[in-house]
Symmetry: C3
Subunit: 352 residues, 3 copies
């Protein structure tokens, strides 16, 4: 187990090679064998650090940074001071930073292997080069594909399939009959496949509607810590390829998220609602059930969405902070707002 | 372990018998030995599927459905086409669907037994026909009653009692001194009995008020994934019989939920608040502490509740979505709303 | 394992000694050997109970209480009835209650020891008198300091350090490279050190920005059930000493919480936002990213915070509940609020 490997250092040349492969690099200027041991923000970087700038607003920080190597757009060339030993000029600096960040990730890479304490049903199907952590439980006919990591104390239910190259962190629960694509990341305490919230009223109280569908997650999905995705009532709840869900997101039964949606923390999406491709949902948004949200819609933080949206664009609701004493007066007045409109209409009539 | 049982098929007659027992069936028309292998929505059903309709709005779907067996109200009799081989006419079709849905649930039924890796205190008390999954930990003097299922990696604290016929899914935490009724379902990552949030201010910062009460859950409660229910400060937090809590609900210390309340996802109920019987709380609602909400109150999605409610009915707060540019102007104006009312009053005075 | 110890009883004198040590006691009046077996609210207390009153509003309850021992301010002396056998007069009764509450806590005290099922990397470092519960997993070079309790099925990642006298409840996940101070309490299903939500857009979708920072929690922090704290993008996410986080709080990457902040349940704080010392955040509040909130700010329940706050005080947003029919009219009008202001301005012009 290579949990304790020392941080490596990377030469400016090796970073350049990586960015060249992604067609991001335009030029490497300076000493190509300069080593970077860390990435830091411009203001905090030390000799031996890599840092990055994305726009001319950061020019003042380039004056003071102690970073040895920089990733930046060529428009910032004029601001480089001599202590910087190598500059990687790129077409998309933020994306270039994302690409090189993977080199510095300290998340332990585990050697493949199945821990002796894992409890794996005899009919489960494990690919090659998998890591199955301590106390993992894998039930009947489940499948874990090649190069996938299942963290300690996680549970994989019957017939659930996890694709290739996934990382399921510790203490995750995947219920039965869940389909997980390739390269999916699921963070701790997430739950996928719990029962949708469906009950029929009766004289004796709520009668459970058993949730017979499953959940399908496409390739390259990331699911945050504590996020919950319910199984469908009859068909699968569906999360498209490339969707990113932050922490404590709640996805109800039968929801359909189009490809590449990004959903920030504490968002709840109620049953059977569909979001088109590329929607971005800020933190704390609540979306009612049975709505149809088209592609490329953005909701700002804490917005309440109670109607379908047919037109791409940014949408909001709510009010903004003010001192509580003043707010109490305004909030009290809100309850007479309709009446106020009618009073103003009356005044307008009188005056015309 | 019968995790891998094949899906069974059910005859129209066997469904009729089930619904008859619940006094829901009025008539079975057609071929009573027609088999159903699945339930599907009308539009997606295939030959061999059971489907259901609840109102005349669905008449157009009855024209196109390929389902072999239908559950529906007799008012829809005229719309049945010949490919439907059997119709179950019922008085309450949605409830009838809920009743038969249990037959098609693929959630693995586990044979009773205690997994060898479970760690059970010698003073714990296990009923007959219980399933205790891998790595379950049960502490001193805890009790698990007959026919109850405790999923893998769950924790049952000291002196906690779980009733009969419960299903505690994997990775659930029940702290010490928690009382769980019969036929309770608790989904993964839920936590019951964590400390209420109580601190006394002091010169040295917040001093913890130890939470000495427990939690009581009545019979037939369901608790969603990631839901948290805190123990009481001095007495028990109380969840009445038949209450249904969706995912990521937060119930603070000393809350009292009357029987048959239904609380959708992402709701938070602050300390010592009481809800009467049969309240329904939509997703994302926040209810302040020390409030008294009477019976049969409904709060719509994302409502903020800061005062007690004495009268049954539906309540709301907030504003509705609009394009963000337009919203910014309106939200800015809200901060002068009280002033606007005074300006209008002044105009009215001048004009009268 | 002392999970099943019987509840002890405490004499009025022993409580007085405890409060004297904290300089809270002014006087013990009555029979100092009266025993208390429980703490209860005034109205529910029985003979043998300790109870407490904090203000003169509670004088009527002093008339009816059956408590044997009371903690109260000397201003309430006149209301004591003869059945009360001992009174502890204190300068700060709520704080005194907090102090004595620890005596009555039934949370099992575990004897130190490492359960045979725990899986501890050979390079991990365990202090003296630690309790490591069943199925705990501790990875390479992690450290658990003296007198700390790690609950069943919890996971401690590589190089993570847990201070002295902590209580990590069952089913907690601490990722790698997390620093936990002394006397920290973390409740079940909490996750600390999950990846911050950072992605760069590209033609092929979102590209993950690896999260290289860690998380630092100061001394005396408490973290509620299901709360998630993400690791920093480059530097550590920081939670100051004495901070109390309730259940289902979400702290994004690079957030900085000053000392002694108290954050109630269901709050989300987005990336890189800073709160000064002593802020109190009520339930359900959402705070946008990259904001700077000064010291001693209070946000009321469910407030949406989208701008920095430079001045201490209480802030709010939103509207208050009203019957849904009436609310729908007002909410519809809100969308024309800016227009209404302009109409009123026009009227004022005409009339002047």
């Amino acid at each position: 187990v290579s949990q304790n490997s020392l941080q490596e250092a990377f030469s400016a040349q090796s970073l350049a090679d990586l960015l060249q492969a992604d067609c991001l690099l335009t030029e490497l200027v300076g000493c190509s064998d300069t080593l970077c041991e860390s990435i830091m923000p411009l203001a905090k970087a030390q000799p031996g650090s890599l840092s990055f700038a994305v726009s001319e607003k950061q020019a003042p920080l380039l004056e003071i940074t102690k970073a040895s190597v920089l990733i930046l757009p060529s428009s910032l060339k004029a601001f480089i001071k001599p202590s910087v030993r190598a500059c990687l000029y790129v077409t998309a600096p933020y994306l270039a930073y994302a690409k090189v960040s993977s080199l510095f990730d300290k998340c332990p890479a585990q050697d493949a292997g199945i821990h002796s304490s894992a409890i794996i049903h005899e009919t489960a199907n494990l690919g090659v080069n998998v890591y199955i952590g301590p106390n993992v439980v894998i039930e009947a006919q489940a499948k874990v594909s090649d190069n996938t990591y299942i963290g300690a104390n996680s549970f994989i239910g019957a017939r659930t399939q996890v694709g290739e190259g996934c990382r399921i962190h510790p203490n995750v629960t995947l219920y039965h009959d869940v389909q997980i694509g390739d390269r999916v990341i699921i963070h701790s305490s997430a739950v996928i496949g719990s029962d949708g919230f469906g009950f029929a009223p009766s004289q004796d109280g709520w009668v459970k509607i058993h949730q017979i569908g499953g959940v399908t997650l496409g390739d390259d999905v990331e699911v945050g810590a504590g996020t919950t995705i319910d199984r469908g009532a009859l068909e699968d709840t569906f999360i498209g390829a490339g969707v990113k869900l932050d922490n404590q997101v709640q996805i109800a039964h039968n929801v359909h998220l189009g490809e590449h949606c990004a959903v920030a923390a504490c968002v709840g999406i109620a049953g059977s609602t569909k979001l088109g491709k590329g929607c971005t949902v800020a933190g704390g948004v609540g979306i009612a059930g049975h709505l149809d949200i088209t592609e490329d819609v953005h909701f700002t933080g804490n917005t309440t969405v109670t109607r379908s949206v047919r037109k791409p664009g940014s949408y909001s609701s709510g009010t903004v902070i003010e001192p509580s004493g003043q707010w109490r007066k305004n909030a009290a007045r809100f309850r007479s707002l309709d009446e106020l409109f009618r009073r103003v209409k009356m005044l307008e009539k009188k005056l015309s």
